[in-house]
Symmetry: C3
Subunit: 107 residues, 3 copies
């Protein structure tokens, strides 16, 4: 048995939980902030048998892969207007720790 | 030294913390949601010496054992009334990971 | 690779995160309550290479060392006044678990 602690982007965490739940892999979300990822993030606890490890790491990589988004910035102070301009931001990303579980109990 | 990460029902977490504290076993509550247990849950971090492991697992099993509760449902839409009826729900349950601690420091 | 789970005083957590970030050591804050420390506390997840372990434990010990603060208590009920008096309280302290990481992925 292994325990994955994964810090993922808030926006990706919902999809990760959905896909793991479909596969019957238990997952719990811990509220977390700052640090590893610059934006809002969620720490997931994922309990899994060793033979599912590759599948779950691939799932995390597929969903959480960093990608560019274009966001439009509307600058301006009251009474003045400036032209809006696009900014490219990176979203996603994940930090994944795989820990060995010495003993597992489902009560 | 071992670290237990236990995902327990919110309602059981208070009693677990109380009983562990009486035994002088350190425990911290992390806010967690969804996943392993369907209802609201709390993730507990419990630090303990190996020789307390059986005692703590037994405590978790005793307090968190899943059990049936009967809840009365009052159906109805505004202006209409239906007979209330009982529904049996399962509460409790816990997922327990025991991890090895390589080093422990109390500062 | 090691994972430190450290339960620290809320007031110390900001400085710990700042100093670790300056050293390029990843850290995530989990909202936590009660238990190991009597006051509000924060659980930090710190991922680090083994050769940074002493440096990070020293940093935690330096910032989180328990120390006495004098707090002034203003007793009183509406309509009556009592003399304010000083009370010495201990702040800081930390509980630190070092776990082995079997596998680490930065996605
Ligand atoms: Ni059992
Ligand atoms: Ni020391
Ligand atoms: Ni990879």
């Amino acid at each position: 048995m292994k325990l994955i602690m994964a810090v993922v982007d808030d926006n990706d965490s919902i999809r990760v939980v959905e896909e793991l739940t479909k596969k019957n892999i238990g997952v719990t979300r811990l509220a977390s902030t700052g640090g590893f990822l610059k934006r809002g993030n969620t720490t997931l606890l994922i309990g899994l048998e060793e033979d599912k490890l590759k599948e779950v790491l691939d799932l995390l990589e597929r969903i959480c892969k960093p990608r560019k988004h274009v966001v439009t910035i509307f600058p301006g102070v009251p009474g003045e207007t400036f032209a809006p301009y696009p900014v490219e931001v990176t979203v996603g990303g994940a930090i994944v720790f795989v820990l060995n579980v010495e003993r597992f109990e489902k009560i």
